[in-house]
Symmetry: C2
Subunit: 733 residues, 2 copies
């Protein structure tokens, strides 16, 4: 019998026959090795952070102990230690290059649009699609780009969910990278009311996923891979705005779930390399990292805080309005027949955008140019319509210091054009964001805020000019002084609107001042961001990304939500009262067949293992996936394993009657340290544990007896219930 | 008997007699109320974060449910919700004001020193102490300031430890605030090689502690109080440097332990208010938030990255050298007789500093001025010795764009003076930091880096001027071009040295660019900071603050340390093999006397409660402090409680023989959800749990049976042992 087993295991045979090792002992060691595939997750499942972490530590220990054996192993261990940095470097290089290429291509496409597609402007998009189709793709019969677009959803919500430990396969694949890059160029150059930062974050995450698949340290550990992805998200924002520090903070504040300090530090590196690469490519031709460079010549005054705070209120209201309307529209798209025609929707919205946007100069130009113009201070040489002030011919002016002047005709024209553009932007952005195209929200939000801000700024400026004697102006705005900078108001308004939509604060202010280089204006920016967040929070806690995560029903346990209800673990755990008892395995009394039946009849991800059904004392937890693989493997390779073999999880085999079949030892797949809480544990503590430790499930005990189980989805369902939402709206996969 | 009990409880009597409540039911409710003092911690103990959090949620729930009862309760609930912001506002205002006052006073004192104490310069310090003594304090016989100084230790290490959940009473008191503020003025104006940012963080934390004691929400919850302190630390850095965003990041990266997003957001507010207050006071007279404002006129070139990285290496080496030497010196001070004469030490170091520093102009001036001068670009009108270049009389120069010129005599003189000053600063800072005076490290570190950087910068500049034809210079440095900015090198050097000492990266770069306004130079700053951290980390992972925490033996579980050893919970838990069994309480069989004996004989902070000694099934955990209070209270107020009363933790009293004394119910003080792990849990997971959940202790079980206990100190001791350090060097209280 023993011989038979050997022949059925050729690998072991050769191993044993070649070496000086004790045969039977070694056979057991080999069988104790993990099977291939054990420990990976299925699609649309949540990862177990603690487990991933401990697997990585094991790997690290192995390498460290091996490294003392030979020079080669030592070099390998060094390479392993540095692979994190190498990945970051590669991500930074690729993300920066792609961003540069995209910027250059967008410029080229925008020119192309104006030169070639102008006669048929309303279907320029499709035409451009055909154009690129002929050059890039083999399949000429249909327009594959358009087909693919409908598969590309929003990005940031998904990335946030993936980073929280959810598995969505293919979302960060190589094809996604390629298609997203190409479509991003098309979308941004099309003039739709969208920004490029969301898709660039996605593109950078695809780069991160691609490079981490090259290093086993990251490809085999879902937890480590998410560290890389967090850093990649930072690199994405870094290149979208030329704001490396803001990118890191954005990743920390908005996107990431699990952010150890080491990640902060690597994100920083990736963001640096990406920004640097972009700067070397120099797509804007000004050798600056900064997207909208501004220089103002006057400080701001205390009294101006009042309009700044008003802009903050406007930003908060815009954030609330946008989030509510956009979500309502997206829900309608999801639930009605509208959702079946994504391509048609894109074409219609593009057409409407094109037709309405064209007549107004402020909607015709690209949104980035618009923001840039609105932020700008009116220097002496400025020819823009916004700078059409009536100059005093008697005054000799230094180049930089221009006193306040009365507005000319151009400014008044600009004012009503801006007002129309503002209304248009507000409406069209609500309908555009969430379509099945790559879409970012920063640039349109900033444009809305910048328009409102510029108008307020011009208003205050003219008020101050014509009413120098009012008390509020008397102290700081004498005749002939340069006291109000409308561009600063635009900047503050942009920050406020961005803050209202995304609910960022610190990272927002950092991005704004990296964007604009306006270091002295940090207090106005902060005041507006704080006000805007307060106002928006007063109407609802969810920012746009959380709202979309919620809409899509992803199991995302938000770090920001506070759970303050007085429920206990016993109220949430399953089985509930009246339900059949928990499916458990016993440590040494179930047969292979019993277990196979249990697996067939249930769809749980794992089963607790107890001493016996009477005592119900918990000894561990076995994953469904690993159980299936272990039984399959044993049936194929291990002789004597039949349906009524006893499975045991103890160190020693149980004492069996003489004629019983060979038992199957499964201790190796048993997690001996399952997480437990008592039934009296408040749910707020349980929520905290799930969040901070990234658990997948947690067992509930009372005085050492197993009572039930709480999974991450149970927690989410309970939270939805407590917030008076329909728990079934959380759909999960 | 029942009547007697009532008379012994006058509060209950009046309560019951006044109301329409069921008497006996209400009596029980009253007895179930927590005793005063229950739940506070003793000095030099660690708090339990989970518990503090759940207490706060309880409080919040109570207020929310009450708020529906009346308008007044609703207003109270609103006030409670806003109290966090009010505290932040007050902290910001006070910290900003204090910083402004300190800045003004330092200026005044520095003038005073030069005007009055110059003839007796070497004891100016003592004299100034006497001066302030006469004006501020009543006790004229001795110099209380000097006495008090020796009680004021370093600040940042202690603050870091306190924020991690350790209790050090009096460290953040009102007197500390007052004394620290006064001494800080004296120290900074004395010219010692110290900065003011560390003490300002301490001052801000004292403000935070003071204001949080005014609101019950914060004064009664140690966890909430730490949120306020984290924000206060951010405000401290914000005013020390005029860098609000850097301050928030510093608090996040360096100081804080528990940093929920809400704190990030409030820190931001406190930092904003503080910076704004300081700006309104305007102590530097330039209306800027920024301490060292610089404007450079040339971009940097790729080739310059090489000297920047060299400066990073220098910074890393400086960080290592400083940390090692300073810790060695502090250890010597701690262990030898030197530590007994802190006042003498301060006088000697001050005298040496004064004598050696005076002749050299770069050590004579205040360190901030020195840094400012080193950062400065040499404009056309600059009269400093560092800008003594040989001008070409034939050239007509625009104001800003001065081409590279050969160095004059002044520059060469400055070079060797800087070299001497650099050596002096390096040596004296090692001995100064850690003396019993308020001391910050940022400014001296930056000075060391700035001196080294300026010298390298001048070297590169002259090299480029004299060798225009070298390949590396040919592309970017033609004759007559302004290509090298030595001030930028000083800035990069300062960042590198600061990074080497503190091991900050992101917050460092943010602080540097908030300090200098040099937004375009973010890549050089990042490159230097990254290099410096790598180099310093290669020699040892500990930054200066961690090293001091370690030296002082505080129980600080660093978030950054990774624990990668393969030990299990069973290796760390107590009792160890051969030790007496764990002291446990049983749920319903111990008498009051048994428990009192147990409390007397042991000094554990708490005791696990099990069903019985035989089954050892865990039902909860009782705190020592609460047990003592509960027994004391029961003996005083509850009739029939005698030494052999049975204590029970179950819902129902145990069945007792008829003549036995009245039993004592203690379920109320029982924590029904103690944290448990199994004995097979890897220590890395346990460390992670302790860190992330902020536990104080954790019970170890195997298949539902209690085996032992792991406290935070056990974890720290084990980590020290694994790192081959003497576990007893972790002294704790």
């Amino acid at each position: 019998m023993r011989h038979c087993r050997w022949t059925s295991l050729p690998g072991v045979t050769s191993m044993v026959s070649s070496g000086a090792m004790s045969a039977s002992g070694n056979l057991m060691d080999f069988l104790d090795e993990p099977f291939p595939d054990v420990g990976t997750y299925e699609d649309f499942h949540t990862i177990d952070w603690l487990r991933e972490k401990s697997r990585d530590t094991d790997r690290h220990r192995k390498i460290t102990s091996k490294s003392k054996e030979s020079i080669w192993e030592f070099i390998k261990s060094l390479l392993d230690a540095w692979s994190g940095w190498v990945v970051m470097l590669l991500i930074g290089l690729l993300a920066g290059t792609l961003a540069g290429v995209i910027d250059l291509a967008v410029d080229w496409m925008t020119d192309l649009k104006e030169g070639v597609c102008l006669s048929a402007f309303w279907y320029s998009h499709e035409q451009c699609c055909w154009t690129s189709n002929e050059t890039t793709f083999e399949d000429r019969d249909k327009c594959p780009l358009w087909q693919k677009w409908s598969e590309l959803l929003l990005s940031q919500s998904e990335i946030k969910t993936i980073l929280s430990g959810f598995i969505i396969r293919g979302y960060l694949g190589k094809w996604t990278l390629l298609i997203k890059t190409v479509t991003l160029v098309l979308v941004v150059s099309s003039g739709l009311s969208l920004g490029k930062e969301g898709p660039l974050v996605h593109v950078a995450c695809c780069c991160g996923n691609f490079f981490s698949s090259l290093f086993s340290k990251y490809s085999k550990n879902e937890g480590k891979r998410r560290e890389v992805l967090s850093a990649a998200a930072a690199a994405g924002v870094s290149v979208a705005f030329g704001a490396p520090i803001g990118g890191v903070l954005f990743s920390l504040e908005e996107v990431s779930y699990y952010f150890p300090l080491k990640t902060l530090w690597r994100s920083f590196f990736a963001a640096l390399v990406a920004a640097f690469t972009l700067r070397s490519i120099n797509p804007f031709g000004n050798s600056r990292l900064v997207l909208f460079y501004v220089e103002y010549h006057t400080p701001w005054y205390m009294a101006e805080l009042f309009p700044f705070i008003l802009l903050g209120v406007f930003g908060g209201l815009w954030g609330t309005l946008f989030t509510r309307c956009n979500i309502a529209w997206c829900r309608r798209r999801k639930t009605t027949r509208l959702g079946k025609y994504p391509v048609l929707e894109v074409i219609v919205v593009t057409a409407i955008t094109a037709i309405i946007a064209y007549p107004n100069p402020y909607t015709r130009q690209s949104t980035s140019e618009l923001i840039s113009e609105l932020f700008n201070d009116c220097g002496a040489l400025e020819s823009s319509q916004l700078c059409d002030y009536i100059n005093d011919p008697n005054m000799t002016r230094p180049v930089d210091d221009i006193p306040d002047r009365p507005a000319g005709v151009g400014v008044y024209t600009a004012m009503w054009q801006l007002a129309l553009a503002l209304i248009f932007k507000i409406v069209i952005t609500i309908f555009t964001f969430g379509m099945k195209i790559p879409s970012g929200l920063f640039i349109p939000s900033m444009a809305v805020g910048a328009m409102a801000g510029r108008m307020v700024g011009i208003g205050v400026e003219q008020l101050a000019y014509h009413h120098h004697d009012w008390i509020i102006f008397r102290n700081w705005c004498r005749p002939g002084a340069d006291c109000v900078t409308p561009g600063l108001y635009a900047m503050v308004g942009a920050a406020a609107c961005l803050g209202g939509v995304t609910r960022m604060t610190v990272s927002l202010v950092v991005i704004m001042f990296e964007l604009t280089g306006g270091l002295e204006y940090i207090v106005p920016l902060m005041a507006a961001a704080v006000t805007s967040k307060w106002v928006a929070d007063a109407f609802g806690k969810e920012g746009i990304y959380e709202a979309h995560i919620h809409l899509n029903g992803y199991p995302f346990l938000d770090v920001k939500d506070e759970f303050t209800h007085r429920t206990l673990a016993t109220d949430v755990m399953r089985p509930r009262r009246g339900e059949p008892p928990l499916s458990v395995l016993t440590q040494d009394s179930m047969t292979v067949e019993d277990v196979e039946t249990l697996i067939k009849e249930t769809d749980y991800n794992g089963f607790p293992v107890v001493v016996s059904r009477d005592s119900e004392r918990l000894i561990g937890f076995a994953q469904r996936r690993e159980l299936i693989l272990a039984i399959k493997n044993a049936r194929q390779r291990q002789e004597g394993i039949v349906s009524n073999s006893i499975m045991y999880f103890t160190e020693e085999p149980p004492e069996l009657p003489a004629n019983s079949p060979h038992p199957l030892k499964l201790r190796r797949i048993l997690n001996l340290s399952p997480f437990t809480v008592t039934d009296h544990t408040p749910m707020e503590t349980v929520v905290d544990i799930f969040r901070k430790l990234g658990l997948r499930q947690c067992l509930v005990t009372r005085s050492g007896r197993l009572l039930g189980i709480i999974t991450k989805k149970d927690v989410l369902r309970h939270m939805a219930q407590m917030a008076n939402q329909d728990p079934e709206s959380i759909m999960f996969n």
